[in-house]
Assembly symmetry: C2
Homo-oligomer: 226 residues x 2
Amino acid sequence: MNMKIAILGGTGEQGFGLALRLAKNYEIIIGSRSREKAEESAERIKKILSSKKISYRNVIGMENREASREGDIVILSIPYQHTISTIKNLREELKGKIVVSIGVPLAGIIGDKPTRVILPPEGSVAEMVQQYLKDSKVVSAFQNVSAKVLECIDEPVDCDILICGDNEEAKRKVIEVVNSIEGCKGIDCGELEMSRYVEQITPILIGLNIKYKLKGSGIRITGLRM
Amino acid sequence: MNMKIAILGGTGEQGFGLALRLAKNYEIIIGSRSREKAEESAERIKKILSSKKISYRNVIGMENREASREGDIVILSIPYQHTISTIKNLREELKGKIVVSIGVPLAGIIGDKPTRVILPPEGSVAEMVQQYLKDSKVVSAFQNVSAKVLECIDEPVDCDILICGDNEEAKRKVIEVVNSIEGCKGIDCGELEMSRYVEQITPILIGLNIKYKLKGSGIRITGLRM
């Protein structure tokens, strides 16, 4: 497991939560447009983990481009509306790499409700990312787990992580990363295009979080052990 | 619970499974285009339940129109492509009633894969139904539970049922019906338009069923008890 995981936009909520959880088993590179912000975030993560007496590998902060170059696996924790503009400048750095799309096309970007989606022409954020990063191995994951749940590192995460992608080996590696988070189970849901349906589970969960004032609902798949 | 539940298209797989499960607590009217087929199905259900020594109220078969008139709650177990043509002739009979949409807009109707959807202009089957039955209280349910799992009446159903609808009282009644099935839990997911996202969970589950040769995967929502 001597892999370096870069999290672009790792200063954001979802990226920060993932970094906290993954730092236990992987070297983490927080990426941001600003190196200072990335380093700040990295320090904050180390401080939280130390205060909880959780051992970790290393957490460092870098500018997005440098982070893309350094990471063996690169997680895109970038707002929907900034995804294309960010990745189209990182094609070279991300060539041949496993790129994990965690984005959800929420309609908030046009001022609509967070319980609605506005789909990209490709059908899903993950397919959109693959369209712009033709030479990367795009895997879709982590759309249905709440940032707040990830941040509560004292508790296991009660959520399955649905994995989609067209490269089998890349999916296997991402499932290994997912399964390193206590309570998470990675489930291979087939081709990358299935991410359309996985991304659209999130508005249901957001709706439940609002309606029932939850920290973060999630999902489990039943009927798998037969 | 002295309610009569009509299941239009109750001779089909999903309707048959629901009838088997619901007959324990409700009078069931199987609806079909042909009264003979409906009556045959009703007999088959009674025979199965009797052989399992499961007590039931009553199960009868009727032509769809008569069934619509008789049922207090009417479940639409009709193939996607025949939904509009069936319901537009039943507007009068379904006026003021709770109509449960269980359909999923699978792309099989155009010869495409069962792991894809082809959405109606309204966004979901449930919204399409409401569009054609303006005077009925449409509630969306049962899209994510497999017919095969419903048919195994010796085992509880390991699946949450996501409920969407614009009429609160109608939703409450449907949740009561759902919760009468052992193992099922009805979860109010908000307005009818949320059915768009609920219906699109089904292609993921179908994909898992095919990939892992499952009897029927399902879902559970986590994080609700906080």
